[in-house]
């Protein structure tokens, strides 16, 4: 997203505003408050709340319900703590590194500590806006992007559930947020980023968020190894009620994620929401029927997983494609992710415990590529190509995996990644947090 809606706003703005305006700023700038659209701002404030709700409680519950009862609190805590840590890092440097011009691969420090992000009250009546969203206050844009930066590392937790030390998890996520998320976001979304210049399309984060998190997840299950007793002991989800609540809140919140990525309450946002709904439903049914046919029963975990796979796959495409392509993208994602999570994983014998890679990695790749196939110039005003998309995917896959792998190895060699066998047996709730649920 970002770059294109920016053009979109400009297009619209130029119709309404003094010609002078036509040449758009390329970095955060001060504008007069009356240039702010209350309508756009209202929707972006709302979208920010919705995306935060995706992480807490949405994702936390989605994962929490799938683990064993002795690990549920530890799992919820991971997402909650990640949101807190990323918030502080975003303020320190993350936002600045991702969304200020800087170089082709990383932004600068001009916005560190949200330095220069102002609202000058009457009588001055000026405030700063991001060059990526000219009709809303920069504070709102920075908050909206913060919620993306927060949920992305939290997605990774699904891969290493039940066995990572909390301290190591915090260290990994902090490093990952600055060293992996910020650069990829900059390259793909910031106009000066080289993948953005190359024309890679990623409306709401299929590449930056999902492929990126999926690869980090894959790296983590290689580095950590399997859960104790994996394959021998039964490890059924302890309470899918939580998982279904989580999936539902992810779905609802995703409207903020995708339609919010329009940066405005406009026709583009409307389309993004509509195709998100269609792809999600198609994917949920795709997974459900694939499972029903191949395993004999349609499961709650299946339909919920399918919905998430659809949400992931439509994310990069949401502002670019029409209804029918959305249904196709959803169906493909639902069926392919079903295969990835139920067969591929068991075939390749790695323990991606809650399928962070199987759903977000695979689903993200499907979405990124199909965006190139189905992008509609009418809706988005741009062209795309599978090859350019493939380039974005390849870079993210390679960098996301390698960088995550290295960070994890370093932490493992320093403070150690994995809990002791007794702790794992007793369960992380009691051993790491000294708490348990009745």
């Amino acid at each position: 997203m970002k770059r294109l809606p920016m053009l979109a706003f400009l297009a619209v703005l130029t119709l309404l505003m003094p010609a002078a305006w036509a040449d758009a700023p390329t970095e955060p700038t001060l504008i007069s408050v009356d240039k702010i659209s209350a309508g756009d701002t209202a929707w972006m404030l709302t979208s920010t709340a919705l995306v935060l709700m995706m992480s807490i409680p949405g994702l936390a519950l989605f994962y929490g319900g799938m683990v064993r009862k002795k690990n549920v609190l530890a799992t919820l805590m991971q997402t909650f703590a990640i949101v807190c840590v990323v918030t502080i890092l975003w303020w320190l440097a993350g936002y600045s590194l991702a969304f200020t011009p800087g170089s082709k691969v990383l932004g600068g420090f001009s916005r560190a500590l949200f330095n220069g992000m102002t609202f000058m009250h009457d009588p001055v009546n000026k405030l700063s806006v991001s060059h990526l969203a000219l009709t809303i206050p920069e504070t709102v844009y920075a908050m909206f992007q913060l919620t993306f930066a927060a949920i992305t590392p939290a997605l990774i937790c699904g891969a290493f559930a039940d066995r990572m030390k909390f301290s190591a998890m915090l260290a990994f996520m902090a490093a990952w947020s600055l060293l992996v998320y910020a650069p990829i976001a900059h390259m793909v979304w910031e106009p000066t980023g080289w993948l953005n210049i190359a024309g890679v399309l990623d409306y709401a984060g299929g590449t930056v968020v999902h492929i990126n998190a999926g690869m980090a997840g894959l790296a983590s299950c290689f580095v950590l190894g399997k859960r104790l007793g994996y394959g021998r002991e039964a490890m059924p989800p302890h309470n899918l009620t939580l998982t279904l609540i989580g999936a539902s809140l992810l779905w609802v919140g995703w409207f903020g994620f995708n339609a919010g990525s329009a940066g405005a309450a406009d026709g583009r946002a409307g389309f993004a929401m509509l195709v998100t709904q269609l792809a999600t439903a198609a994917a949920a049914l795709g997974w459900m029927f694939a499972e029903w046919i191949s395993k004999g029963k349609p499961s709650v975990l299946g339909i919920a997983s399918g919905a998430v796979a659809g949400l992931v796959a439509i994310t990069p495409a949401s502002g670019f494609v029409g209804p029918t392509p959305a249904v196709i993208i959803g169906l493909v994602a639902g069926v392919v992710c079903f295969v990835a999570a139920t067969s591929l994983k068991h075939a390749l014998k790695y323990d991606d415990s809650l399928d962070a890679f199987g759903v977000h990695g695979i689903g993200g790749i499907i979405g990124a590529l199909l965006t190139g196939v189905f992008v509609s110039k009418e809706i988005s005003g741009v062209d795309g190509s599978v090859w350019i998309q493939l380039k974005g995917v390849a870079v993210t896959v390679a960098y996301g995996f390698a960088a995550s792998f290295i960070i994890l190895k370093i932490i493992d060699m320093s403070i150690g990644l994995r809990v002791s066998e007794e702790q794992e047996r007793e369960g992380l709730d009691i051993s790491l947090h000294g708490e348990s649920i009745e």
């Binding site: 059924p236 999570a341 994983k345």
Partner: protein, 112 residues
């Protein structure tokens, strides 16, 4: 005195309780248990991982009775708990060396 223990199908609990009350039993203790036996469990599949749940939910009831009442109680349980299908359960009888009612300190017969 004897302690009669029966492992029954959970949905039969109310019937059995009534049946034994009818023959004069005044107290029963119930425990939720899981049983393994001829009756098979089921399989659950989560994202392709199949788990055979071998244990079936059962309910265990314990009744302390005077010897005189033993046979009637056993009959009452059999009648009320039987469905004729595999998994109806078992009755185990033990000798009771002593019984005490905590509230009163009464012993044996009068304590039951």
């Amino acid at each position: 005195m004897k302690l009669v223990t029966a492992i029954i199908k959970p949905f039969k609990l109310d019937e059995v309780r009534k049946a034994v009350s009818d023959v004069g039993v005044q107290g029963v203790t119930v425990t939720e248990v899981r049983g393994f036996g001829r009756q098979r469990g089921h399989t659950e599949i989560y994202r392709g991982a199949e788990y055979a749940i071998e244990f079936v939910p059962k309910t265990k009831i314990e009744i302390a009775v005077e010897n005189g009442l033993l046979d009637q109680v056993i009959e009452a349980i059999i009648k009320s708990a039987r469905t004729g299908k595999v998994g109806d359960g078992k009755i185990f009888v033990f000798d009771l060396v002593q019984v005490v009612r905590i509230r009163t300190g009464e012993r044996d017969a009068s304590a039951i």
